[in-house]
Structure formats: C-alpha cells, structure tokens
Symmetry: C2
Subunit: 394 residues, 2 copies
C-alpha cells in the first residue's frame, strides 16, 4: 500500500472518463461523453494543414515551443474574444492543454489547501476533481432554472471566510445545459467585487448556440481583471488535440505560465498550428454554426423522445446550445445505480452523483449528451432508459 | 498584487525556458536549449503519417482519448523497455505530456508539503521547479565524476526524516552529462531499500549514447517496484510533440492517471499516433543511432574548441552521450552574471545557478548544449565565451 499525498489520497477517477472505456463495447449507445459529433470534425482540412506544417515549418512544429503558446494562435484567439466584447487590457492570454489545464493552473496558482471555492451544484466533475486535488474546500450553491442562486451565493460568501474563487460555467452549463441571463451575470460580478473574490468563468460551449439570443460573457463586463476566463477549441474543432486557453490578469497569467512550465512545458506546437491554420484558411464561424445546428437538431429530437417515452414526472432542462441536457428522476433514485442499470442495457449516461460538489449528496439526476449519437440511436437509447425508469415504479 | 498560493508564490520562470525567448534574436548562437538537432527530425515521415491518420482514423485522432494513453504506443514503449531489461511485472505504463509531466504527476501523487526529495546537485531545473511547486523540501547531494555521492546520500537519508523520494538522472545527466556506473546504481537502489524511499529515475537521454558501453537502468534491477521510471520521446523524435511516459507500480500509476485527468485529460492523440506509427513504419533504432552519432561529432568538436580556447583551469565534463556538457569556472564567478555577459555577445548558455537545488548556492558553472548549433557556430560561440572568461582574469 503506497502512502499517497493528502491532496490526492481520496481522489478517484472521473466517472465520465472511466465510462469512456466502456464505449468501445459493441452496440453501445453513448449519451455519456462530452464531445462534438464526429461528423463535424474537419479532418480532411486538418490532414492537409498537418502535412503542410510538417513539410514547410518542421522546426517550429517539432521543436520546443514557448510556454505561453504559439503566437499566431494567441493573437487569433484574442481577436475572436474581442469580437465578443472581451477586451484584453491588463490581461494576458496563454494557450493551455485543453480547457481542463486552464482550470488546474488557476487552482494551483491561487488556492492553498483549505481555501474555499464556490461551485454550482451540480457542476463539471473535471473542475471539481481539479479543486479537490489541491484540497480546496468546495461550497456548493444551488442551480436554479437560470443558473446559480445569487442570494445563496451571497449568503455563502458572507458566512464563510477563506473563499477565494467562484467557479461558474455560465453558458450551456455542464452538466445541466442551463444558461445564466445577463442580469444574473452582472449580479454575480457585483457580489464577487463586494466580497473580493475571483470568478473563474469556464466557457467552452458558448459558441455552440442553436436557439435564443447570445449573452455576453461575464469577462466582457469585468473592468478590474477579477474574471479568469477559461476557453477551449475542444468543442468547436477537436477535443483530441487538447487546445484551450486562459485569459486572465497579467500577473496571474504569468504565474500560470510558471505552473505550466513544470506541468507540461508547453502545449504541443503541432496541435496549436492545426487550430491556428484552420482558423486562418477556413470559415471557422461557418463550421461552428453548422456544428451547432446539428447539435440543435439532435437536442430537439432527444427532447421529443424524452417527452414521448419518459413519465411526465421526470424533470428535464431545455438547453439553447452546448452538448448536454439534464434529467432528474427526483428523490428515492440513486443515480449511480441508475446509470449502472442503463449501462447493463448498453446505454451509457453520466450519473448526477458525479457532478455533485458534495460527494455524499444523493441525487436522482443524470446527464445526457445529445451531440454524439445518431438519430436512430437517440430514440433507441431514450426508450431503453425509459424502461429502466419503469423499474423504479415511476 | 494577487495573493498566490504558498506553493507557487516564490516560484520563478525557468531560466532555460525564459532564455528560449532570446533565441529568436538574429545571429544568436544558442548552447542553451535541450533539444535534439533539428536536422534529425523525421518531419517528412511524420507529415505522411499525420495525413494518413487524419484521413484514415479521424475519430481516433480527433476525439477524446483515454487518459492512460494510446494503446499501441503503450505496448510499443513497453516492448522497447523490455528489450533493455525493464520488465513490467506489477507496473503500468502511462503516456504523459512529455517527461516533465511524468515528474509532476509523481510529485503530486506522492509528496505532501514539506516532504523531502533528494536531488543531485546540480540537477534538472524543470524537475526542481516541479518539486518546489508542491513545497517539497529539497536535499541536494553532491555529484562526483561518476554521479551522486552515495555515502553522502546515505548520510542525508539517515539524518533526516520525511524523505520520500530520490530523484536521479543516471545517464548523461542534465546538466552535467555525467553517467552513473552500474555499481553505483546498485548501491543507490540498496540505500533506497534500506531507508524505504522511492527512486524517480529520469532517463530521457539514455538512448543517445555515442561513446562507451551502455549501463542498465536502475529500474531494470528493481524487484519491488521502488523505481518510478520517467521516459520521453522528446530527445529521440521531437520535443514539440510532448510525448513522454511514466512506468511505475500499478497502484501509483493508477493514482497518476487520476492526477492526469484533472491536469490535461490526456496527451493529444495525434501526437501519440505520430510517434507510434513512426516506430511501426520506420527504423527507429537507426534514427536514434544517426542522431546520437551526430551529437557525438558535435560534442567532440565542442570539446576540442573548449580545449583550444578556454584556459586550462576551466573544468569540463566528458559526456558519452546525451545533449549537454558542463563547465566550471570555479569560485569567484557568478554564473548568472556570466551567462548574461555571454548573452550580451549573442551566445546563449544556461547558468549553473539555475540547476542548484539550493537557489542561494553560488556557482561559477554553466551548461552547454552541443546538439543544436552547427560546427562553425560552435567554434565561434566557444571563442566568444572564452573572451568573456578572460574578462574575469582567468
């Protein structure tokens, strides 16, 4: 028995990552992953770019790169964010190995063991586990139909010392699919200012809107560099390339660079070049629009199947974008057991339990990804889940 | 002023990584980096593979992969290590984002703040900073002409509690280029056993031997999974792809996987496929041999230039492989100032100060990389350094 460090001794593999291994089972229908539809990957264009880069710029592509990231991609990313109202005064953008690393670097740089982080309840397990891996204390705040309950947030901040960070996924939240409206975003920023805490705005899905009106990022309203912005190309080009970014106060970004140096030195240059050249050579906005439209069609179809097969008592969210929706069977159902029963019938879902900041919290909720499966599989999978629901007498 | 976490508040950028930024200066001669010669990169072969993979296996290449790594590459790596006597019983191999990440995951999983790590003095700054970033306590042990002083190691272990790990680069050490002979490796393993500490064997250079006889890895003599082995494809195929590996006790490797999930989810699949297919399609051993031969020629030439231009009082090592040699001007020279003076004259070297586990330790030593520069540049650069040495009255 190895004695592990205190920070990770209780840390367990992400249920989502682990369920990923089951996905190679023949005939499995997966609503578990968080990836864009494979048919949207611009693989032919990327093949051409990869070949060009390795032939024309082999030393840049294969040599060590600087930790901050590939300069053209940094500039392109800043320009894209500026077009959405996110200005960079006093901020630096660094390229990270996926959005996940932007989260980890933030925690490593800011959080001492025992420091507090406010999280949406439920929230993204990858971030929750990153927080846990530095022994942060998690303060869950309820999600309402329109995002984090701001009154509850204020109570938590007023009643507890040592909180340094509010973690939020304001747009098409993982796992619920919920989007926080503008007024609530403003209030969150005000509250953060009042209690002098940072906001980590994790926004990997926001460009994948298929319904409703766009809402400005919290970062776009931030005039004192209080918002740390994590973004990603995983949901718009490819998750496998592992390219994300962190946009934050110069001083914080500089410290994140030092942390990244000891973590992986830099994000693979070829991955960064692929994204950069893709954006340069092709119509990235059109690609995102197509991808979002496809997701929207799949989401609408999944919702219609849910409404057809699930009992009316099952709550579901109505996302306007992103990759996920959230169902809740209510009390008396153990979501882990429920997910296991679905997997026995070859349908993979993510149990709500894995999204709870407080791991002892009971829940009958689960997350469904709607971007990956095809139409026929969506209906078959939802029907199968409905049969498992019946076993619970719902 | 942001209040950073205690673990990173005193952490500064790696001098090596920072000096990397100066390398774009026109006319600069760099002996600073730690990369293989660009002319050895198999870029054309990699271009073909990249295109093939993205066309033939787009979903594998661009989708999320499993955290442990791309299965074919794991098997290939294990086979290569087995051929060198490193058997895998009770061990698991995971792919990491460069060898650097193998080091960081080990520390994160094992070391509490204040736990001790024994390091060679001098040692690799990337590892030292990774240790510092978790507030480990560093115990430097002197380097002799044939590696770590084992008597001193035993004294340190006997005299201090809370030490969990010995960190060593036994072959073509960074920064000295020194290789530890078999007998000393055996003794280190015995001492580690006696005091019940782990050994982290960092071995990224060992295949790049151009003189002398191969020495077995410490891991190959380890019958109780005490040795954690970190390896890399950075020095044999390409550093920019960021592909390394960790080979360790099953239980430790499993915890490292959990840590990797929160860090970057997985190493980019395309990077892993490029390495895997390159090994499958081409004669990797021949490629390594060619690369080592070229390094050997450059090293010999650099040594002849040193012997021609430097005063006899300057100590230098005689590496049998790897990428670095180490020079020492002795007392009374501040290596940081010396490196800065060289950089003023457009020659980049790495100051010995950055390789000291104890940052307050004075040194007149510096590291020279011999793989990157061309012959003419090597002579010109060494001559320029010799002029700076003269300024110190040597």
């Amino acid at each position: 028995m190895i004695k592990f460090s205190d920070r990770v001794s209780d840390l367990h593999p992400s249920a989502i990552r682990e369920s990923f291994k089951a996905l190679s089972r023949p005939g499995i229908i997966s609503f578990a992953g968080g990836m864009p539809a494979p048919e949207t990957y611009p693989n032919k264009q990327l093949a051409e770019i990869a070949s060009d880069m390795l032939i024309q710029s082999p030393v840049i592509a294969l040599q060590y790169g600087i930790t901050e990231g590939y300069a053209p991609l940094i500039e392109q990313t800043k320009r894209r964010l500026a077009a959405y109202g996110i200005k960079g005064d006093g901020n630096s953008l660094i390229i990270t190995s996926g959005g996940q690393q932007a989260i980890e670097l933030t925690v490593k740089a800011l959080i001492n063991e025992g420091d507090g982080i406010v999280c949406e309840n439920p929230s993204f397990i990858g971030a929750l586990n990153a927080f846990r891996s530095y022994n942060a204390k998690l303060y869950p705040v309820s999600m309402e139909h329109d995002g984090m309950n701001i009154d509850e947030l204020e109570n938590v901040l007023a009643g507890n010392s040592g909180i340094k960070l509010i973690y939020t996924i304001p747009t098409f939240q993982n796992p619920t699919g919920i989007t926080m409206p503008l007024e609530k975003r403003k209030k969150m920023l005000e509250v953060a200012k009042k209690y002098n805490v940072f906001i980590l705005e994790d926004n990997p899905y926001w460009e994948l809107r298929f319904a409703g009106e766009g809402v400005p990022a919290i970062k776009s309203m931030d005039n004192e560099n209080r918002v740390i912005y994590a973004g990603s190309y995983s949901k718009t080009i490819s998750p496998g390339l592992r390219v994300g970014f962190l946009y934050a106060d110069n001083e914080l970004a500089e410290k994140a660079v030092v942390c990244k140096q000891v973590s992986d030195v830099h994000t693979p240059v070829l991955s960064q070049m692929l994204i950069s050249e893709y954006i340069k050579r092709h119509d990235f906005d059109e690609q995102i629009k197509k991808s979002a439209k496809l997701n929207g069609e799949k989401c609408a179809f999944m919702q219609s199947c849910i409404d057809k097969y699930f009992p009316k008592s099952v709550m579901r969210t109505s996302p306007e974008g992103g990759l996920f929706l959230w169902c809740d069977l209510g009390e008396g159902v153990d979501s882990k057991e429920f997910a296991a029963k679905c997997l026995e019938r070859n349908v993979a879902i993510v149990s709500g339990a894995s999204a709870m900041p407080d791991i002892s919290q009971k829940t009958g909720a689960f997350r469904l990804n709607f971007s990956m499966a095809s139409g026929g599989s969506i209906e078959e999978g939802i029907k199968t889940i409905s049969e498992v629901i019946k076993e619970y007498g719902r």
